[in-house]
């Protein structure tokens, strides 16, 4: 990501170019969501590989613009990181929740999913067993 300091900008506006190999569109929009308290976030998709965000402080916002640039980029990278963790843990999360609630009788249908841990698969009452019941 980079901050565009060259282009002529409306006063009090900052432009940030976001590369989607680093930050996905979803992660970018989540970042904009949180910044929408203090800024108008104008997002445009330049190409498959890049979007541009223009942050303009809302009336009454006392959020310093130079700080906002850094904070926006840090927040976007954090959302990208969260996305990676979510992708890596999605299956096991579904299974943990299924197990947590199925034993209390709340969940009537077992979810589909894959759980690749050999030790767990070998257990007669393990989570893999619950999955295979579906």
């Amino acid at each position: 990501m980079e901050i565009d300091t060259q282009s002529p900008l409306p006063q009090g506006t900052v432009t940030i170019h976001v590369r989607h190999d680093l930050v996905s569109v979803d992660a970018l929009l989540k970042t904009c969501y949180w910044f929408s308290r203090d800024f108008v976030c104008d997002v445009s998709r330049d190409s498959e590989k890049q979007s541009t965000v223009r942050l303009k402080p809302k009336a009454g916002s006392d959020h310093p613009l130079d700080e906002a640039q850094e904070q926006f980029m840090a927040a976007a990278l954090d959302f990208a990181l969260r996305e990676r963790v979510t992708v890596q843990t999605l299956s096991v999360r579904d299974l943990l929740l299924a197990k947590a609630f199925s034993e209390s009788g709340v969940l009537e249908e077992q979810p589909l999913g894959v759980f690749g841990d050999a030790v767990e698969e070998a257990k007669p009452d393990g989570m893999f067993k619950i999955l295979s019941n579906s």
């Binding site: 989540k30 969501y33 949180w34 910044f35 929408s36 308290r37 954090d78 959302f79 990181l81 969260r82 990676r84 963790v85 979510t86 890596q88 843990t89 999605l90 096991v92 999360r93 943990l96 929740l97 197990k99 947590a100 609630f101 034993e103 209390s104 709340v106 841990d117 050999a118 030790v119 767990e120 257990k123 393990g126 989570m127």
Partner: protein, 497 residues
């Protein structure tokens, strides 16, 4: 002959495959706070989440052991513990089991007070048509006991419920009799300002096992300012009522709650001192609900959440100082959150539940039989907003209440796990979803977290508590644990000059 042993690696082999478990993170005080699906947390160095996502964490490090112990990662040596994690998650969500536990009966809208912030569109004390009828009381009792919960709490509320003491005397024995017939446990509480409480009423409550919850907003100047009534003697009557209630019902059967108005904000220490002076051992620093008359009279009572948070933080510091001095005083909101952060337990506190506790864990039966998802939604109805009216005791049963359009609309946005702004939040398992608050304050049940007072309050309070936890001062943590366990306060550490 030398005895040979297996090498240490035989007993603790290095893991061959490390996998991540679901967790969320936040950056606090130059560290990363990692929180797993059950709410267990770990403060870790900056960069830990990146290392985990990249799969480059050192499996021989102390940090790795901590990550395993906190169910952030698992490997071929720890996968059996996934069952434990599932059990911990189930424990955290225990509030979902059993059905609605708290049932609030609004026995009258009449009240002799005229508080600016009153959450009820009160009626004058002589209008009997705003009292609950016996037929409505009967149906409400029946619906209450239709809850699958084996133990329910009946809260008698108003208006000022003691103005309708006759209907209280009708409800209490019938509720007890019906609960016994159905094999259910029953607690009864009356929420009253005590201004009209006679010794005969209090004796009745003692004999029937009814506990008293009252209001104390602080010292006389503040309480009387917040709670005007003829004679301007609300405080004097409340104190007299508290003393007589304690004498008749027993000390532990009388509790007090305060409401924070704009007038309260500069007086948090005086409010706390008043609770100590009156020998209370709990205090709930809670903001005014943005409903009912509080919304209508915003200029008189309203304030920004920032100002409330200053009030809360200053108040908590003062409360901790009082505890350090040996007087046990628990701040309830902190206690609820600390319980969610530091113990496997969830909470019965409706506002901090996900799925939201409204309707699931509380139902309100209005004087005219209308059933609401919470007391706040009844307040909205008094402002002609019927969004959260689930039905009426004379037309509906439990099934139709819970499948009403009002209920289903609310349930759809009641899980913070799936709400924008909450789904990635590290504090998700400590917080709740409050569709009624967001409907009232933002005109949208779903809510917009960046501008939500609910989100701001809980984020700030949780961060504040985590700052104490991270600091790990033995005295402060000892006080927190004493609040959670009921154990004695930590002994004051002697200071040497």
């Amino acid at each position: 002959m030398a005895r040979s042993f297996y090498p240490a690696e035989h007993y603790a082999p290095e893991p061959q495959q490390v996998s991540l478990l679901p967790f969320r993170f936040a950056r606090l005080s130059g560290q990363e706070l990692l929180v797993n699906e059950a709410g267990e947390f770990l403060f870790a160095p900056e960069g830990t989440t990146q290392s985990l996502a990249d799969g480059v964490v050192d499996v021989r490090s102390e940090l790795y052991k901590d990550l395993k112990a906190k169910h952030i990662v698992f490997d071929d040596t720890s996968s059996p513990l996934l069952d434990v994690l599932a059990t911990k998650i189930r424990t955290k969500y225990d509030h979902l089991s059993g059905g609605t536990k708290l049932h609030i009966f609004v026995v009258t809208l009449r009240c002799e007070h005229s508080c600016h912030y009153c959450q009820v569109s009160r009626q004058t004390a002589t209008k009997g048509e705003f009292d609950m009828s016996e037929a409505t009381a009967d149906r409400s009792i029946s619906l209450m006991l239709d809850s699958p919960s084996p133990h329910v709490t009946l809260e008698l509320q108003g208006g000022e419920p003691l103005l309708a003491f006759d209907i209280i005397q009708y409800i209490v024995p019938r509720a007890k009799e019906q609960a016994q017939l159905r094999g259910k446990g029953l607690d009864i509480v009356v929420t009253t300002n005590l201004a009209c409480a006679t010794d005969e009423m209090l004796t009745y409550f003692r004999d029937e096992g009814v506990r008293v919850s009252t209001s104390l907003d602080g010292p006389a100047f503040l309480h009387n300012k917040n709670r005007p009534r003829p004679g301007n003697d609300s405080y004097e009557r409340a104190i007299d009522g508290i003393e007589r209630s304690r004498a008749i019902l027993g000390f532990n059967n009388v509790a007090a709650l305060m409401t924070t108005t704009a007038a309260s904000l500069d007086h948090v220490e005086e409010i706390i001192e008043e609770y100590v002076r009156r020998d209370f051992h709990t205090i709930f620093l809670r903001p005014i609900s943005p409903y009912g008359f509080a919304l209508k009279t915003k200029t008189k009572t309203g304030y920004e959440m920032e100002r409330f948070l200053e009030f809360y933080k200053k108040g908590l510091n003062h409360i901790l100082a009082i505890n350090r001095g040996g007087y046990r005083l628990t701040e309830i909101y902190s206690q609820i959150l600390l319980s969610k952060i530091l113990t496997p337990q969830g909470t019965g506190y409706v506002d901090l539940q996900s799925p939201a506790g409204q309707a699931w864990n509380v139902l309100v039966y209005n004087y005219n039989g209308d059933v609401f998802a919470s007391d706040e939604s009844r307040m909205l109805a008094e402002m002609q907003d019927w969004t959260f009216r689930l039905g009426n005791v004379h037309r509906d049963n439990r099934h139709s209440l819970f499948t009403s359009e009002a209920a289903l609309n609310m349930f759809e946005v009641s899980c913070n796990q799936s709400l924008a702004g909450c789904s990635d939040c590290a504090f998700q398992s400590y917080c709740g979803a409050d569709p009624i608050y967001h409907h009232a304050t933002q005109g949208d049940m779903y809510g917009h977290r960046p501008t939500s007072g609910f989100c701001k309050r809980n984020m700030e309070v949780i961060k504040h508590l985590f700052a104490f936890i991270n600091e790990d001062d033995p005295q402060t943590m000892g006080i927190f644990w004493a609040w959670l366990t009921g154990n004695p306060l930590p002994v004051q550490v002697a200071k040497c000059d």
